[in-house]
């Protein structure tokens, strides 16, 4: 569980990584710092130490400076921050909808042979592409 102080720092850093732009919500608008990051941390407890280290790094710097220098000085912590923030963002169903991603839902395999059978006939016409066994 993040402390109030670290969560405030994280909110600013997360919005620096994922701002409101291109018709997409920022990280905080997508409830990453208040909701989804906690889920993400549950799924990836191995990244927690690096993530906290990244937030501690942001205590005395502006969000932009913190992220830039973190990437240069502690790339492992930066990766933890980046993966968890991106992963938390994509956990939000509204974000999935906005990018046209249905998520991990079943889509039974269909038969699409008719869509390429004419093209495949050309492949057959071009002939074999193997060397037979030397007897």
């Amino acid at each position: 569980m993040l402390s109030t102080e670290l969560r405030e720092i994280y909110t600013k850093m997360a919005d620096e990584l994922i701002p409101n732009a291109e018709g997409m919500p920022s990280a905080s608008e997508a409830k990453v710092p208040t909701e989804w990051i906690d889920r993400a941390l549950e799924y990836r407890p191995d990244l927690q130490a690096g993530f906290i280290r990244a937030l501690e790094f942001g205590k005395s710097k502006s969000p932009r400076d913190a992220i830039q220098s973190l990437n240069a000085d502690d790339s492992e912590a930066f990766d933890c921050l980046g993966v968890l923030t991106s992963g938390a963002y994509f956990l939000n169903p509204e974000v999935k909808k906005l990018i046209g991603y249905p998520g991990q839902v079943p889509s039974p395999a269909n038969d699409d042979i008719d869509s390429y059978s004419e093209m495949l006939a050309q492949v057959v016409e071009r002939g074999p592409v193997f060397r037979p066994t030397v007897k």
Binding site: E16, L17, I18, P19, A21, E22, G23, M24, R39, A40, Y43, R44, D46, I67, Q68, N71, S75, D79, G82, V83, L84, S86, G87, F90, L91, I99, G100, Y101, G103, Q104, V105, P106, S107, P108, A109, N110, D111, D112, I113, S115, Y116, M119, L120, Q122, V123, V124, R126, G127, P128, V129, F130, R131, P132, T133, V134
Partner: protein, 549 residues
């Protein structure tokens, strides 16, 4: 479908046959032996993996796949994994230690070696021929196609005429069509993918649900992993499976014949299983590790190692990825993943290219939004995040696919598995170390193939193309470390997998491959295992066995 009860039932005091490893080849062996009424015990260091544990049908899939379901055991670090020193290897070995072995996490590309793969020396003047031909293995290939419920389209002009696959091909989807359009413009070979994934329900397996999560375990149970396809029937037929059993060494009698194995259970107890015959099926890293660990007075250089070839000639298939991005929405998060299509256009040798041998190409979908982003690691922050986070996402997500290139690497005795002098697993058993460098031939091969794959994407209308010439996490195919051949001086086992040095020791996994081919090996591993075990069963009455246990 649920797995059989995972209780380790007591087996016979002395097994007719002990199989070490419950993966692709071990599953075939156990199935055949149990069916023949032979008392078989299998030691597997991993556990069962119920499909309900897989995350491919859950929102957190892309987050957890980078750790819990990572194919690199050094990253995954499960209790059933052993560490591997890769500090002197260009490529990381990938595997999964469980009932079903690496078929749990493989992509299920069901590639059949081509005739030239068995005659590399005869046709191209390099490496070695196999002791048998494509035609010798063909009936076993066809039998395994049926056992694994393979989906594909027959009459591929990359192969001699053969029978139909048991199931029709899976959809090639929009990425497959886009790839095919480019290949047709160039007049190059392509064919819909052949996968051991059910395009329609077969046996206990349901139809593929296109989660695109094949490489992290199929949550639908549609992918053919041997925990599903082989083990339930094998156990019904009387096979004894002991999970959580990490083998310390194969033991021998006073004459140097194998007579069982020492192993450690998950409670830390040292145990021993006696056996008349021992089969190793622990993959191209695990098998030489066990042989090298099994030094004895009778076998001071390691078991079955009079040729000094145990661990040598490691081949791991360097893999290049050429990803094209398109204006169209290709829905490229959809499976199978799995190959959507493949090309064998540049598989065969053309010496005018400056190298020998070739590579299979496969069209792979690009997955979900987080996995797509993993390609940005190490770049400046503003390239991957900020406004560009959204711009890149809109440009690439769902609109890209990969031409993957599986490069044939030729055997080199300096590429090898050895025992690490310091590193051990959680039971204190010395861990393997890999020494592996990609060759000049492979570098030239990859350069040529990457250039052609760029041309293929351009012909398909890609708006941008990115290239990874050597993926470090690509060592799925662990081959060659106990070479098969006719001469005991330059091979470890004969054409039936029987050790030249120890006639009641057999090796049936990819370790025995004299050459690697330029494609996915599981189909050939299982067909070869079937051929070897059938021979053992047919000759079991006259099989040499130890005089003491």
């Amino acid at each position: 479908m649920s797995n059989p009860v995972s209780v380790n039932t007591p087996g016979p005091d002395i097994a007719d046959v002990l199989v070490i490893g419950a993966g692709a080849s071990g599953s075939v062996a156990v199935s055949e032996l149990a069916k023949a009424g032979i008392k078989v015990v299998c030691l597997e260091q991993g556990q069962w993996t119920p499909p309900s544990e897989f995350a491919g049908d859950k929102p957190e899939w892309e987050l957890v796949k980078q750790k819990r379901w990572h194919p690199n055991p050094n990253v995954r670090n499960h209790p059933s994994d052993y560490p591997i020193d890769t500090t002197e290897s260009d490529v990381n070995p990938l595997m999964y230690n469980a009932v079903g072995g690496s078929t749990i996490l493989y992509a299920a590309h069901w590639f059949r070696f081509m005739p030239s793969d068995f005659q590399v020396k005869t046709m191209d003047g390099v490496a070695d021929d196999w002791p048998f031909t494509y035609e010798d293995l063909l009936p076993f290939y066809e039998e395994m196609d049926n056992a694994m419920g393979v989906s594909g389209l027959s009459d591929d002009p990359a192969y001699p005429e053969g029978g139909a696959f048991p199931l029709p091909p899976l959809p090639i989807g929009k990425p497959g069509i886009k790839a095919a359009e480019g290949m047709d413009k160039l007049g190059w070979h392509w064919w819909p993918g052949t996968n051991s994934i059910a395009s329609k329900a077969i046996g206990h397996r349901p139809q593929c649900q296109r989660y695109g999560a094949c490489l992290t375990g199929c949550p639908a149970g549609a992918k053919a992993s041997t925990d599903i396809t082989h083990w339930p029937t094998a156990i019904e037929n009387g096979a004894h499976l002991i999970t959580g059993a990490r083998v310390r060494k194969v033991t021998v009698d006073k004459n140097g014949l194998a007579n069982g194995a020492d192993y450690v259970d998950r409670d830390g107890n040292e145990r021993h299983q006696k056996a008349k015959v021992v089969i190793l099926a622990a993959n191209g890293v695990g098998t030489p590790r066990i042989l090298l660990l099994s030094k004895s007075e009778q076998h001071p250089n390691g078991l079955s190692n009079s040729s000094d070839l145990v661990g040598r000639r490691l081949m791991m298939h360097p893999y290049a990825a050429v990803v094209g991005t398109y204006d169209d929405n290709l829905e490229s998060w959809l499976g199978p993943a799995g190959e959507l299509a493949h090309s064998m256009q540049f598989y065969e040798t053309d010496k005018s290219r400056g190298f020998v041998r070739g590579a299979k190409w496969n069209v792979m979908p690009s997955g979900g939004p987080l996995g797509m982003r993993s390609g940005y690691g190490g770049r400046p922050v503003d390239e991957s995040f900020g406004v560009n986070f959204h711009k890149n996402l809109k440009k690439v997500f769902g609109r890209s696919f990969e031409w993957g290139i599986i490069a044939e690497d030729l055997p080199d005795e300096d590429n090898r598995v050895v025992l690490d002098p310091k590193l051990t697993d959680s039971d204190g058993i010395p861990a393997p170390k890999l020494i592996y460098k990609s060759s000049e031939n492979t570098t030239k091969l990859i350069d040529f193939h990457v250039d052609r794959a760029v041309e293929a994407h351009e012909a398909s209308g890609a708006t941008s193309i990115s290239i990874t010439k050597l993926m470090r996490d690509c060592g799925w195919h662990l081959l060659g470390t106990t070479k098969m051949g006719n001469d005991p001086k330059d091979s470890v086992v004969n054409q039936w997998g029987q050790s030249h040095d120890v006639p009641n020791l057999f090796i049936i996994d990819g370790s025995v491959f004299p050459t690697s081919s330029g494609g996915n090996p599981t189909s050939t591993i299982m067909a070869n295992a079937l051929r070897s075990v059938r021979h053992l069963v047919e000759n079991f009455k006259t099989q040499v066995t130890p005089s003491e246990f």
